[in-house]
Symmetry: none
Subunit: 89 residues, 4 copies
């Protein structure tokens, strides 16, 4: 067996199972944190809604701003590509 691969053989005495359990618990912990953040986001929207803002519009603004950022990054990436293409001639 190659080094570094998951090992279930008897000689490892359940070590792999412990390692596996560790990975699972780390992921589950992080997903718990993620759920908390997502809940916080929901609460912000709820608060805004409570003050009369239209959450649908808010969400669309958020999305649009994100797309603008992505677009800008794409433009820069494209420029970089062109520059490297020119440099490669």
């Amino acid at each position: 067996m190659a080094d570094g691969s998951a090992n279930m053989s008897s000689s490892t005495g359940g070590v792999a199972a412990e390692r596996l359990r560790s990975f699972l618990e780390r992921v589950e912990r992080l997903e718990e944190e993620k759920a908390t953040i997502m809940n916080d986001i929901k609460e912000v929207y709820a608060e805004a809604k409570g003050e009369g803002y239209d959450t649908k519009i808010l969400r669309q603004i958020i999305r649009l701003r994100k797309m603008d950022r992505a677009d800008r990054q794409e433009q820069e990436a494209l420029l970089d590509l062109y520059l490297s293409a020119l440099g490669g001639l």
Copy 2:
């Protein structure tokens, strides 16, 4: 206009715009945190993969365990319901 509603009239002097900006920034900040967490999760999976584990299977186990927890919570909720119906023993 009803109290508590988003107010863009001239008498509020841009106060609503500031409030709106605040909400947007809070959401964007939280989404940034969420993205960080999601990245962390990806890294854990990558680390596990590097040790020979099949991430597809790992994700499947995570899903199964989450479903088990949900089932258990439902069971407990049902038990609570019965107990309260009995007068709380």
Copy 3:
């Protein structure tokens, strides 16, 4: 049983099974067509590559043009939202 629902009872004599098979085959036929189109796209990129074009750049241009279109649609949707929000006051 409500009319129009999937019916497996003995009185239908396997009619539902035939209907089900029909849906599956229609989907599979369409997915086959889709696979053909996707293959055509790959061939266009391959042809361009054969003439010295950088497919990575081509793909990025395609993506950017698509994002521009999407952004424009988003902008219009946002404008519509604002207009309807104003009309709802």
Copy 4:
């Protein structure tokens, strides 16, 4: 310059630009067709749903039919291995 390479030199008088535009339009045309096919697929599922079929199950059947049987068995065997290593969830 090697024959067959993208040529932007003055002697080609914008021919390469035309060629480039041609590639882009061919790809965009094909992607449009692909989008149409995908829409057709969605419509078939919608029609099936309207007759009481569970689209989630339909999609699963499609996937299973597509999936290689050997792969499925291997996946299950590996999952069982991990589960037994954990002592059963």
